[in-house]
Symmetry: C2
Subunit: 512 residues, 2 copies
């Protein structure tokens, strides 16, 4: 009798989760439309729609009935009769419910308002290269986030305020683990970068500047999507590709859409965007179908998401094997423009290592250093070791120390990214964690399927996708990221394999 009550409550909780999940998927659609199709004059109406939407979403997430169900389920003496999966679902609902209910309403609404202000001031300050303008608004949003972090430290049971921030994106990850792993990463990357930069081989990127008309690049996008098995064309298609300034992925299971951008004088940009976003999209599409609408039916973390996008973009897309298969196809589509490009030449051109100032333009080797810098600054900010006002100088110093580049103004320095203006502290580490997870995952793939690179060269990406689905996607959110990583690779987090992978590749590119 008691047990059937438990099952009944669990069922009710899952039914509420289903509604919440479906509602969020509608929110995704509204966002997608705003970025891709919305007429510009609709901006104010859309703000109203988004405001109302968030309000309803928040009401659903903080529904007192959810709180009551959670308490009764957690306190039920038969609680252990729930399966591991059911317990995980309850755990995940509790996590979101706490995150949404434990912060004072006033703090939440003030933060929301400040985000809009800080974002707008950031845009202006970046345009006129004036950190002084941005500083007070960044300070406000940081102080509000710090207040939230202080409360969430207890709620989440984590050691530091920064850990509470990281946990939003990478559950159970800590700044200590990241610091150790990023330390190893930095120590591994710097000599590789030096070997590349100081070597005698100087790969030539000029072929990537050859003009390819946008319409032709759209054909390439379709063909790339087809290669990786991201279906946008058939009657069962569950995705589509549109165009935006900044590429992104948006969707849930059966409706996962990506965007890309086209530059006539940089055809590779859209190719790697489609590979990257396609990697994100396939993760969402290939989650365990039986878990649809349940909390476990979601990606594990931001870092894991990045591991999948970077796997397809870099580990596959920047490999010689991929291009040995795909270059003929690319030539067929582009005609004269690329007819005399050689495989070796292209492979080197897309793997140039060059320390630079802007994160989103960074190559695969230097990218993680951009992230490490942001991580160190965020950690020191939340620990009170530096102030918002000291950020520009600290930023510039680290760029000189780690990347050897001199930042000339704050728009190409500390104000280059949007994240902080919107209070997304703790988000940046996920990007480099994605690289690290990816390195460990490819190491495991090397063991499981030593011929995987040949498969790529033969155009059979499908076997890799199936392996990724079986070993990563289908786990959904059943484990926290470090547990999932261990489950997949049998190992704890480490940067070794990512460094090995890079070193092997760059030895080929730069012939060191």
């Amino acid at each position: 009798m008691a047990q059937s009550e438990l099952i009944d409550r669990y069922g009710k909780l899952m039914s509420k989760c289903k509604d919440y999940t479906i509602f969020q998927s509608i929110g995704g659609l509204i966002q997608w439309d705003m970025e891709t199709k919305m007429p510009p004059g609709a901006f104010n109406l859309r703000s109203q729609q988004l405001g109302l939407f968030s309000e309803i979403e928040h009401k659903m997430a903080t529904d007192p009935e959810v709180g009551t169900l959670l308490e009764k389920i957690e306190a039920d003496p038969d609680h252990n009769s729930l399966s591991e999966l059911q317990k995980r679902n309850v755990y995940l609902v509790r996590k979101i419910y706490n995150e949404q209910t434990k912060l004072p309403e006033k703090l939440v609404s003030e933060t929301e308002k400040q985000k809009v202000i800080s974002y707008n001031v950031w845009k202006k300050a970046k345009a006129i290269k004036d950190f002084g303008l941005f500083k007070p608004e960044l300070t406000k949003v940081f102080e509000l986030k710090k207040q939230a972090a202080e409360i969430l430290m207890d709620v989440k049971g984590v050691r530091t305020k920064y850990d509470a921030m990281i946990d939003y994106y990478e559950p159970k990850m800590t700044e200590d683990v990241i610091a150790e792993t990023f330390g190893e990463l930095k120590r591994g990357l710097i000599p590789i970068i030096e070997k590349c930069v100081n070597g005698t081989t100087k790969p030539d990127r000029s072929i990537l500047k050859r003009a390819v008309p946008v319409a032709v690049q759209q054909e390439i996008s379709k063909s790339i999507a087809n290669y990786i098995g991201y279906d946008i064309a058939s009657e069962k298609a569950r995705g589509r590709i549109d165009e935006t300034e900044h590429p992104f992925t948006n969707g849930y299971y059966d409706d996962v859409r990506i965007t890309t951008h086209y530059f006539e004088d940089d055809f590779a940009s859209s190719i790697f965007s489609v590979l990257h976003e396609g990697g994100h999209a396939m993760y969402e599409q290939n989650l365990n179908r039986e878990w649809m609408y349940q909390p476990v039916g979601a990606a594990c973390s931001y870092g894991f998401h990045e591991s999948q996008s970077r796997f397809v973009e870099n580990i596959v897309g920047r490999s010689g094997e991929f291009w040995s298969y795909y270059l003929p196809e690319l030539k067929r589509i582009t005609g004269a423009a690329l007819s005399n490009v050689g495989l070796e030449q292209l492979f080197r051109a897309i793997n140039v290592v060059q320390p630079s100032k802007i994160r989103i333009e960074a190559d695969e080797a230097t990218y993680s250093l951009h992230i490490i810098i942001r991580f160190e600054l965020e950690r020191d900010l939340f620990a009170g070791k530096i102030t918002v006002g000291e950020l520009p100088q600290a930023w510039n110093q680290k760029y000189m120390d780690y990347l050897g580049v001199e930042i000339e103004n704050d728009s190409e320095g500390v104000m280059q990214d949007v994240h902080w203006s919107q209070g997304y502290f703790g988000y940046f580490p996920s990007y480099a964690l994605g690289n690290i997870y990816g390195g460990q995952i490819v190491n495991k793939l090397n063991q499981d399927m030593p011929q995987w690179r040949e498969s790529i060269a033969n155009g059979r990406f499908q076997v890799i996708r199936e392996w990724l689905t079986k070993n990563v996607h289908s786990y959904g959110n059943i484990y926290d990221p470090l547990d999932l990583l261990c489950r997949i690779t049998g190992d704890r987090i480490n940067s070794r394999h990512f460094i090995e992978y890079l070193d092997e590749k760059y030895a080929k590119v730069y012939g060191y």
Copy 2:
């Protein structure tokens, strides 16, 4: 004190209306996406999204707090201190609230389920031309609607069940008024059609079959949109054009989107679609901006909406004046394909009168007869004078009597339209009412602005649009349709002016 309580309650009611209106506009977006951009594999997810959406929408519409606010406002001794506008808003909320709350939940949910079944069976039955298959499901949906109509008769205080149905689309309109007006219309149309069909002039439609590539037709759409001032291109654009099998308009004030379809061998089809949907769109866009999010900030009725779309499509778009301006532009865009087309030749080709079997392919003169047939059948159905089973025979007889065409099977007869399968009884009359209102409106325009046709010929559609906005659009939903019509034209509803307008035009086309 008491009055401030009234104001306070009115404010609360309007705040709830605002949320409801914004939420509905999100629903519009979901529908638009489903018809235009959604990947086909997302169908089931979308059904879940729509189901949840309707549930929340219904909850908002039937919120008991709305009921309480309405009761207190209506019973308030200071009620008369509300402005006419405020009273109208309260009246309109009450109307929707009653429509949503007075029907038993069971009846509503059964009807929703039956609609899905009837629709699916209709598709199948139409494909295999078997009314026998459709009949039981149409009967069920009709019986459920009749039950609803019986309850709503009292709620709405109308004389007949059919009046209760009509009132959804054309508030306060009655079958008696429609019967009288349609009678006049039929008596006027038949001799005009006879003069056209039996005349010696036989306009030639063959030029409309000339091949114009889809990409060129898309250019034409943009140019037509530009002509009528439906902005889809500027930084302030509040609309856009996409492609669907059946053209439609969807949106609210600052985000009103239309669709069209392109047939290589029928370029005129998309031109008239864009004009038609553009007419709908501009109505929504040009509603009184001060009333946005209030019940009065909406179109008056389905019939008035059709009056605006048909005004732009037919009264403007099929006029010699429009083409005297636009034909050179069309030739510029289409190049060789239409270079030798004459103005007179084109004007006649797009104004051919030819009685036919299919409503959506009908010309401007015979179209209303298709509607009159449907009206008479619906009225007789709700009055119990005929049964669902007798519909095919009655349909075929009327098509022979009014249009002189012989219906060979029920797929080109009684099953040609989707409306009845979804329970949309009372909807059809709006189409012909739109023609009738349009005739009265153009008569008023003739008085107000005798040179309006010259303006069109000079490419200055703007003056017409401004006149329509001032005289129709900006009234929103402040009056019921018959009152609005009287307000605009100073006259009660009559078919005279529409008939005059047609007679004048066809005298030119057919030279009678």
